[in-house]
């Protein structure tokens, strides 16, 4: 049955796909009122997450992260630049999120849209100084520093940009091998040896968890694209290795009480444990 049929009772009966398209809110509500979700998950259940490090050989550090159907690749290229005069021994970490029509029909070609811009900026705020010590990127004070350009490209989009991006960037930074660099003060040239790679010591690792409020009542973890379209409010909780909070970000109006937020923080702690396991030693064997 692909079109609406009038049954004997006078009620209109739809095929499930048609129902989902015509009345997405009601469709979701039917599931949520039964304490389940259209994708079969429980309210506080996250999608299966897979992290693979070192997937891109052309980048100095890379990772591929899959959260359900959301697939993202993060590649870090290391280049050399002069430091800022105000901070002569601090390097740069430049984070950009790329959401192109290649990953979903929601996004338009050309310059980054609002979601991409806001995610890029949020990543920048989370990681700068907090995760990477800018001074560890110094080659020669006042002369040369590393610039880490981290680009997070979404290959397939099915909701939850920030979680995927934070996990991918964390994994790529862990994978990063910086060549041993020497600054020649006479020529002003930085030479580097590819064979002598050196990992970066991170101050902490970040573990994100996103929760969305659907229909003003139901709080679900790790919303997929269909659920995200109906969400009125979202809460992002980011924890670090020590279980300290790094970020609580609640956007959009909706009744998310103080208690609910602290419950989100508890759930984020559970999620952290899963992610820690996933982040451990998933380097691709080549």
């Amino acid at each position: 049955m692909s079109q609406g049929d009038v049954a004997n009772t006078g009620q209109v009966v739809f095929a499930i796909e048609a129902f989902k398209r015509i009345h997405p809110v009601e469709f979701q509500r039917r599931f949520l009122s039964q304490e389940t979700r259209h994708n079969g998950r429980g309210f506080s259940q996250f999608r299966a997450t897979h992290v693979t490090k070192g997937t891109i050989s052309t980048a100095q550090g890379s990772s591929t992260v899959r959260i359900g159907n959301t697939t993202v690749v993060c590649g870090i290229k290391a280049e050399v630049s002069e430091p800022d005069v105000k901070a002569p021994n601090e390097g740069y970490l430049v984070t950009n999120v790329d959401l192109s029509p290649m990953c979903s029909a929601h996004f338009r070609p050309g310059a980054p849209g609002e979601t991409a811009q806001v995610s890029s900026e949020h990543l920048h705020r989370l990681f700068k100084g907090n995760v990477v010590d800018p001074e560890s990127l110094c080659i020669e004070a006042g002369q040369a520093v590393w610039v880490l350009s981290a680009d997070i490209v979404f290959v397939k989009y099915d909701g939850n940009v920030l979680d995927a991006a934070v996990i991918a960037l964390t994994a790529a930074l862990e994978d990063l091998q910086l060549p041993k660099a020497v600054f020649d003060s006479e020529t002003g040239v930085v030479s580097a040896d590819r064979t002598m790679g050196q990992g970066l010591t991170l101050r902490k690792r970040l573990f994100p968890a996103t929760f969305s409020l659907i229909d003003g009542v139901y709080l679900v973890a790790d919303a997929d694209d269909a659920e995200e379209q109906l969400a009125t409010a979202t809460v992002l909780v980011v924890l670090d290795d020590n279980g300290h909070l790094v970020n609580i970000w609640k956007r959009g109006a909706g009744n998310i009480s103080r208690e609910t937020i602290s419950r989100c923080v508890d759930d984020a702690g559970v999620r952290k444990a899963t992610l820690t396991k996933e982040l451990q030693d998933n380097t691709q064997k080549s």
Partner: protein
């Protein structure tokens, strides 16, 4: 030295940055049997592909293809090359009175996809050129007269590249698969293959380090069932006889690649 263009819609780094001078020795000398990876001279790297919505089957790289809500999509691997493509259409075209449909292609390298300097976010001249090449190579295969007033858009992103010509060939194969996945009417699928000339020897499907030492490269896009070539690209010098030979070998290889694509598409239907 290049200047990074400041884009207010992105997080920007310092105004100028360069790659350090790498001192480590080149690996180009360690070719075995004339090849870097023990292939024979006319062997194409192993191909992996995946179209349509995600299923349980996964790529060894745990990269799974395909955009949601696109009409068709494909993920394509050839050795280290990795390309993802989404096709939208047929959808409303920009020209409302066109009697033929149009095919547009948007080709991009991911900033980290090349072994040389990081690519800028701003579309470079070579990306525009390759977009046009892909359009020209694929368009002859599409039944544009079946889609009046409509357009078909392909968005291609290179996640990792290994050999410029080989990457373009891979992009053509990837788009072909995505078009088939989208159910676009075509005369035939286009398969593509590239070769590089080293000394007087043609080497099929060159990697980046092999391409660096070759003096000429040829790329052929071919429709095997129709027995028609849709695109030829040559860079560098070769004699007419050598080019003849390359075209001949390339079309043969394209037929082999075509078989792989067809076999995959058939199996994806089951």
């Amino acid at each position: 030295m290049s200047t990074n263009v400041v884009d207010r819609r992105r997080v920007n780094g310092p105004a100028r940055s360069v790659e350090p001078l790498y001192t480590s020795a080149d690996t180009a000398e360690s070719f075995v049997n004339g090849r870097e990876d023990k292939r024979t001279l006319d062997q194409v790297r192993p191909i992996f592909m995946k179209t349509g919505p995600l299923s349980a089957q996964e790529s060894e790289l745990s990269l799974s293809a395909t955009a949601s809500a696109a009409s068709g999509s494909a993920f394509y691997e050839q050795g280290k090359i990795r390309i993802s493509c989404a096709v939208y259409g047929p959808r409303q075209g920009r020209k409302s009175n066109a009697r033929m449909g149009s095919f547009d292609c948007d080709f991009r390298y991911a900033p980290f996809s090349c072994s040389w300097k990081r690519r800028s976010h701003i579309k470079a001249a070579d990306e525009k050129e390759i977009s046009l090449m892909l359009e020209h190579a694929i368009a002859p295969a599409i039944r544009v007269e079946a889609y009046p007033k409509a357009c078909i858009d392909a968005f291609v992103t290179v996640i990792e590249s290994d050999g410029r010509a080989a990457t373009i060939a891979a992009a053509i194969n990837c788009i072909s698969a995505a078009l088939a996945d989208a159910g676009i009417e075509m005369y035939d699928s286009v398969a593509a293959c590239s070769m590089g000339l080293r000394g007087s020897q043609w080497v099929a499907d060159c990697t980046q380090s092999e391409e660096d030492v070759s003096s000429c490269s040829v790329l052929i896009a071919f429709m095997p069932s129709a027995d028609e070539i849709t695109y030829i690209l040559q860079h560098g010098k070769s004699t007419p006889e050598q080019t003849d030979q390359a075209v001949q070998t390339c079309t043969n290889l394209c037929t082999r690649v075509y078989a792989v694509i067809c076999r995959y598409l058939q199996s994806s239907l089951v």
